[in-house]
């Protein structure tokens, strides 16, 4: 057992060596770039795009669940905000898809703040319930605000994104590259975030809120920030998702969607980036490929949640990393610098 752990540790160390990591990332990127030339039919390409979008969604939720320890059950609400904002701006007002994204980000951030504010007073389960309620309220808003959202009829014929005369469609793989780009950008952002001061603060909040307060971390600020980031990422993914679907109504963004996103995060491994990829691939790809299981698809999701919680709550690819925490040299210098100085001072005083 012990040997196994040590060899695993070595493997992890090997994989995360800068050179090996670069080569692996490069190889993965190369594979991702040539996917459209693999001759997959349009049905499969649609699923691949869906997987990329769900990876993005999972990365967004992961900031909340994985790093800050806030369980959101209303991610579908954020997705709906992004999807409807973009759809209405592009279809009704004729905006460009990419310009509408700016509005979408601003709107999602505002919604994120509103949903994050209850976290001032509520923790744990109660907060999860608020997010759940929010998801449902968004659906009601969609139904009721008929002049804008076309109510229960939904919006049809959502235009594909276009830039400088090029339309990004499934046929010319534009949609694929667009979703890939968004996924990679979000991944890069999350990686940077986790290793930044903000990321450390978020993880401190997850670890022990009281201790975090004692360390002088503005817990409220970081919680609301986590909500805003998750909302913006989900909304961006939602914008793209709506153009891929071409049709949205209030039933696109149900609690089931929130459950799927949460399942991905948990199956893959909360608080890891690699986990989101493997989680999405398993939960989105497998049920689509085995059509005979469609009836039992959500039964399987449920079983996955139960079994994972019972036997491997950290997720498939979740493990306690034994690598040293990557603190930047400047930070180390800043921390250790004054300490040495005081030690020196002490000595001189004694002398």
């Amino acid at each position: 057992m012990r040997d196994k752990k040590i060899s695993f540790n070595n493997l992890e160390k090997f994989l995360y060596q800068p050179s090996v990591f670069m080569i692996l990332t490069g190889a993965a990127l190369a594979v991702l770039l040539i996917v459209p030339w693999l001759g997959l039919n349009s049905y499969l390409m649609n699923i691949v795009v869906k997987v990329a979008i769900y990876i993005t969604l999972a990365l967004g939720l992961n900031i909340l669940v994985g790093y800050t320890g806030l369980v959101s059950l209303g991610q579908a609400g954020f997705v709906a905000v992004g999807a409807y904002a973009t759809t209405i701006l592009t279809k009704v007002y004729g905006w460009n898809f990419f310009t509408s994204l700016i509005v979408c980000v601003v709107l999602a951030a505002a919604v994120g703040i509103v949903i994050g504010l209850p976290s001032l007073r509520l923790t744990g389960t109660y907060l999860s319930i608020i997010t759940l309620g929010f998801g449902e309220i968004i659906r009601t808003v969609i139904i009721v605000w008929e002049p804008l959202t076309n109510g229960p009829m939904g919006i049809r014929g959502i235009p594909r994104p276009a830039l400088g005369g090029i339309t990004f469609t499934m046929a010319n793989s534009g949609m694929y590259y667009l979703s890939l780009l968004l996924m990679l950008l979000v991944m890069l952002f999350c990686r940077t975030l986790v290793r930044s001061k903000t990321g450390r603060a978020l993880r401190a909040v997850k670890g022990d809120e009281t201790a975090a307060v004692m360390m002088g971390i503005n817990v409220t600020y970081y919680k609301v920030l986590a909500f805003v980031l998750a909302a913006v990422i989900s909304a961006l993914a939602g914008s793209l998702y709506s153009t891929q679907l071409g049709y949205i109504d209030q039933n696109t963004f149900t609690f089931d969607m929130s459950t799927i996103i949460l399942s991905i995060v948990i199956l893959g491994g909360m608080g890891t980036l690699r986990g989101m990829v493997i989680g999405s691939i398993i939960l989105i790809l497998l049920p689509e490929l085995s059509r005979s299981l469609t009836d039992y698809r959500f039964v399987i999701y449920g079983l996955i949640l139960i079994l994972m919680m019972r036997f491997r709550p950290q997720g498939i690819l979740g493990w306690k990393s034994r690598l040293p925490y990557p603190i930047r040299k400047t930070v180390i210098e800043r921390i250790s610098g004054p300490q040495n100085q005081t030690a020196d001072d002490g000595e001189t005083n004694h002398a």
Binding site: Y126, I129, I130, V144, D295, G302, M309, R310
Partner: protein, 291 residues
């Protein structure tokens, strides 16, 4: 008209209270929101409908269905939640487990019975009593009487019996209760049994009120009942009743005043306001977090 709306709200609110009891009892002991409770409620109604279709008579079918649902509650606890307690896992793992259980039960029901709405037989004779301007149908009166009787029964069980004493002891301090020789796992299973049974009864009443049952019925009803439990103060039985009535009445008003689209989100709007202003609900005790 106003009184009639209140009356309709009270009728449906009582059934929310019955479901809310299940959330409340479990939360009191385990500090866990049992997300699978809505699906247990749906299972109750659908299994009873299925049993009725087997032609074993309505009353036996209902009784067997209620018992089965109670056993389902115990089964959920024994298979999914007890192992987690043994590992003393974090609260979030249990929460996610119950979401998983809910997904499994609801979708098994859909896969076996189909997701379409099916007609549910009326349990009470048709007819009505008119008092002043309010119309009481026999169904409404029956629902009110049964729900109220059941709630009083539950209150008596919790307040007056030995197992009720054990439940209250476990609620206060689970470790101390264990040290006093209380079989806490049995108490918890019993709580799930009670919750399952009352959910099944609520399911039957609601299904016969609306004349239909379907596998997905547990989702909104469960959420509203949960809202009711939190509103009244989760962990308190009178709170469940009060919360259920508030949700039922406000829903009934929202449907007539604002439009039927607002019916389903009314519970959440009230819930969010209450949670932000008074996180422990109307009748809930204030919890003090010790460092």
């Amino acid at each position: 008209m106003l009184l009639q709306q209140i009356m309709n709200g009270v009728t449906i609110g009582m059934t929310y209270a019955l479901i809310a009891v299940g959330y409340s009892l479990v939360f009191g002991i385990l500090r866990l929101v049992n997300f699978s409770h809505g699906s247990v409620y749906a299972f109750g109604a659908n299994s009873i409908l299925f049993l009725i279709s087997l032609n074993i008579g309505i009353i036996p079918a209902i009784l067997i269905g209620i018992l089965l649902t109670g056993i389902l509650g115990v089964l959920i606890d024994k298979t999914a939640l007890e192992p987690l307690r043994k590992k003393s896992a974090e609260g979030i793992t249990s929460l996610i487990t119950t979401i998983g259980v809910s997904s499994v039960i609801t979708n098994l029901l859909i896969a076996r019975l189909g997701s379409q709405k099916k007609a549910f037989p009326a349990l009470f004779p048709t007819g009505e009593i008119i008092v002043g301007s309010i119309k009481f149908t026999y169904t409404q009166i029956g629902m009110l009487v049964i729900s109220l009787a059941l709630l009083i029964c539950l209150l008596l069980i919790v307040e007056r019996t030995k197992i009720g004493l054990a439940m209250r002891a476990s609620e206060q301090n689970i470790t101390a209760a264990k040290l006093m020789g209380i079989n806490v796992n049995f108490v918890i299973s019993f709580t799930f049994f009670l919750g399952g049974m009352s959910a099944a009864i609520a399911g039957t009443l609601v299904s016969s009120y609306y004349n239909m049952a379907y596998p997905n019925m547990g989702y909104t009803a469960g959420l509203k009942a949960f809202a009711a439990a939190v509103l009244g103060g989760i962990g308190s039985l009178p709170g469940s009743l009060l919360g259920g009535l508030v949700v039922g009445i406000s829903e009934s008003f929202a449907a007539t005043v604002l439009g039927s689209e607002f019916r389903d989100s009314m519970a959440f709007i009230i819930l969010i306001c209450v949670l932000i202003i008074r996180p422990n609900g109307f009748l809930g005790k204030k919890s003090i977090k010790k460092v």
